[in-house]
Amino acid sequence: MRVADLLVFALRALLRQRFRSAMILLAMAMGVASVLVLTGLGEGARLYVAGEFAGMGTDTLGILPGRYDTTGGMPPVMGTAPRDLTLEDAEALRRIPAVQNVAPLLLGTSTLSSGARERDGIVVGTTRDYFFVRAMTLQRGSIFPDLPPEAQPPVAVIGPTVSAELFRGDNPLGQWLRIGDRRFRVIGVLGEQNKFGMNLGDAVFIPVNHAQALYDTQAMFRVLAQVRPGASKARAADDIRALLTARHEGEEDITVISPDAMLKSLDAILGTMTLAVAGIGGISLLVAGILIMNVTLISVTQRTEEIGLLKALGAGGRTVRLLFLVEAGLMSLAGALAGSAVGLALLALGRMAWPSIPFTAPLGTIVAALLVAIAGGVVFALVPAGRAANLDPVVALTRRR
């Protein structure tokens, strides 16, 4: 039998059993759609996290006071720091050839005020380098002047929320901002798009020398070191560790963490999750397959006479089997295509509702879901189609009805 004839014959048989075909199509479509949507969700979460880390800069190493075991991958939360990590430590890192930029961070919260208006905000004491390390963009003004860290004037770069709340419609540039009992001149306003897992709208950036005075401490919260493009991060980390150990009288009391390592383990966790979730979708594909098997069995039973006739007209068992397999395959194909359309549409809706999370089903997943659906449909139809192929023509034709 010619392929075109086979398809037409199967298609007409399907159209003849509209309700039944529609049910199979629906089941298959739901299976494929759920696989796509669930993988899309998982993949979206993974890409979202990856994107957040990319914003943090995967070429940046974080240096924390104290020693932690970082093999677990998650950022350390506890530990004791016997020796402070100082601004001098940070500046010393500049001598390492592989290190391009160094930004110490000293964090605190203070009351910010301008005139009669005030609010609480996060104060970040850092250096000029910070803006390069984090690839920060300003909506207006400029970053700290090109002076050594200890010679910085009292200036501030403020987050957009701070700017809007304290200065309302006024141009904040050049105005005084009071942080605690000190005054800073506003020289820049951050763009809205800067965020690295935390909202920087509420933050105020001041030179680290003033933060040290404000909070009366020499201890840095952490130091960021950006590795020169092309240089080995592992080598840079080793150099940093060696240098700081030497500066701390031979005791290695700091931890160097690489966002890469964290990203990798997070990625692995999320990848596993996606797989698990896709597996749940796969179960609905299995259900669809079993439905196909049952429906094809019913179809074979109801069309016994037709099968007998086809055999009497000279169709071999092979042709009869093929006819039923093509029917099942066509139904699965239609269902799978409909399911992909629905799944992709749902993911697109998801992207519209949550623009920050890139819900996408990778092309490979779509292709795999389609292939699994069609192959599954055909495999599940093998048993009933085989039964049809082995029907005795005389029994099929003379069956008492």
Partner: protein, 224 residues
């Protein structure tokens, strides 16, 4: 052409054995016109199904042009059915979702004949059987006589050598039945070997050779 030797078939119904065919011997020459009569349950249909390779005997040989068909595999038997044997059933057995044309076309389609050739062959035969103007109707829209003529057209579209008809007029009124028989006889006149199972004595009498079945045996075999 057809050579049947000691053909036997027993059905087991419950713990009872029904001897549908008992050592049947039969030679049929090409172009013969033979009627098969006999009481109900005497094995007429069983014999026809054997000759049409729809059923397998328990014992005996059945040769077509010297080839024993009994030991052949299912695909080979299907092949012979398609190329050499045409069937006409009492119940027509048309595929209800297909038009008359598509029903007639079915053996060609199953045989992988190209659409252009199919159309030519189908048109010719449907015109001959006077059903061409009904080509695009589905069976439900056709009369019994028309349905049986569609079935005959389908049976002969592959130009088989043997045409087997099991009570082809059984469901028809006498006028439609007469038309159908005339078509069959015309085909026989052109050389096809025709076997007709019938309960209608006058119809059976029209055949040049007439056999009578009784309890699974050929009881009478007369010519002329």
């Amino acid at each position: 052409m057809i050579e049947v030797r000691d053909l036997a078939k027993t059905f087991h119904v419950g713990d009872e054995d029904v001897h549908a065919l008992v050592d049947v011997n039969l030679d049929i020459a090409p172009g013969e016109y033979m009627s098969v009569m006999g009481p109900s349950g005497s094995g007429k249909s069983t014999l026809l199904n054997m000759l049409g390779l729809l059923d397998r005997p328990d014992r005996g040989t059945y040769r077509i042009d010297g080839i024993d068909t009994v030991p052949l595999g299912e695909e080979a038997r299907a092949d012979i059915r398609r190329r050499r044997i045409g069937f006409v059933f009492q119940a027509y057995h048309l595929v209800p979702r297909l038009t008359a044309r598509e029903n007639v076309e079915l053996p060609l389609t199953l045989g992988g004949v190209a659409p252009a050739q199919r159309r030519q062959a189908v048109d010719d035969i449907m015109r001959r059987l006077d059903i061409l103007e009904r080509a695009d109707h589905v069976p439900a829209q056709l009369s019994g006589g028309q349905r049986q003529r569609v079935a005959i057209a389908r049976a002969i579209v592959m130009r088989p050598e043997i045409l087997l008809a099991d009570e082809p007029t059984g469901n028809l009124d006498s006028k439609s039945g007469e038309e159908v028989v005339r078509v069959l006889e015309q085909l026989n006149g052109e050389g096809i070997t025709l076997l007709v199972v019938t309960h209608d004595a006058s119809l059976g009498a029209r055949a040049r050779r007439r056999i009578r079945m009784l309890d699974g045996r050929v009881a009478v075999d007369e010519r002329g």
